[in-house]
């Protein structure tokens, strides 16, 4: 399989469209998933921002320094797009309802519904750090590169964010239906 570095070099050097398409195919799920998590389930906006991120990556590909991974660089662009979007829509967010007002989460809720709800319990920076650490599997150093936060802040966001989520789950008496944790599914697989 051709490496990201080779594909990026082909795009930057000879404007190779097929190479860029391969890069989009390879990283789209991660970037879209990251933005969906940051936007706490707003899939439409997340996909729009993901498109903008890839377009920006195409424009700036020549300036990519291959010191880090291509995936980290893409996540950095996506995170900045998200911050820009948040700043633009900060007013609407302040005026919006509190995250879980009028919503009574039921036990054994599906993970697809529960995840966005969980993400609304933590701030944007904590969301980003938690998602990059758990879903993207990045190291603390990589998260520092992506978010531009200090190492101590990243560690604290992950620790505190996780604590908040665990506390919230405990308070709402949840039993999660995640793959591998559903007792019925475990019994079926046994």
């Amino acid at each position: 399989m051709t490496s990201d570095l080779e594909l990026a070099a082909r795009v930057a050097g000879s404007d190779d469209q097929a190479a860029f398409q391969q890069l989009v195919q390879r990283h789209q799920a991660a970037i879209r998933g990251f933005l969906r998590r940051l936007l706490a389930g707003d899939h439409g906006t997340a996909d729009d921002l993901a498109q903008e991120s890839f377009l920006l990556a195409y424009r700036k590909l020549a300036s990519w320094q291959a010191s880090g991974s291509f995936s980290s660089w893409l996540h950095t662009i996506a995170y900045r797009q998200f911050l820009q979007h948040t700043r633009k829509h900060a007013r609407q967010q302040v005026m919006a309802d509190p995250p879980d007002s009028g919503f009574d989460p039921t036990p054994s809720m599906d993970a697809e519904i529960l995840l966005p709800l969980l993400m609304r319990q933590v701030g944007p920076e904590e969301r980003a750090c938690l998602t990059l650490a758990y879903a993207a599997g990045m190291s603390h150093a990589e998260i520092v590169d992506v978010t531009g936060l200090a190492l101590g802040t990243v560690k604290s966001h992950i620790f505190r964010g996780r604590q908040k989520l665990q506390q919230w789950l405990k308070e709402h008496d949840h039993s999660l239906q995640t793959p591998g944790t559903d007792p019925a599914s475990e019994a079926r697989h046994a």
Binding site: Q17, Q21, V24, Q28, A30, R32, Q51, T178, P179
Partner: protein
Amino acid sequence: MPDAPEDLKLARQLDGLLGQREAVPDDQFVLTVMHRVQRERRSRKLILFAFGLLGAGFGLLGAVLLAEPIERLFTGLPATGIMQAALLAGAAAAFYVWSMNDDFSLSN
């Protein structure tokens, strides 16, 4: 104090949940991105072509306007004078290129 078994179970479940990937690969998304990339390339080419055409037009206009004064300037000059002037201009250009080339290595 050690965590209660329920807490540990909840923590494991939370880790699993956070580790999930939310988006699956979507071909339509790739197509949309590539379509936008192609549109951007086309508009970039169009802008480049339009400005190139504008530049060529102005260049042509300048050449037409300056043709007569330039011809007058060189009429009656000796061939050796023109050669010396060309040599001087070449040397000045070479000096300029040399002095602007600051891409030197810092390593030994």
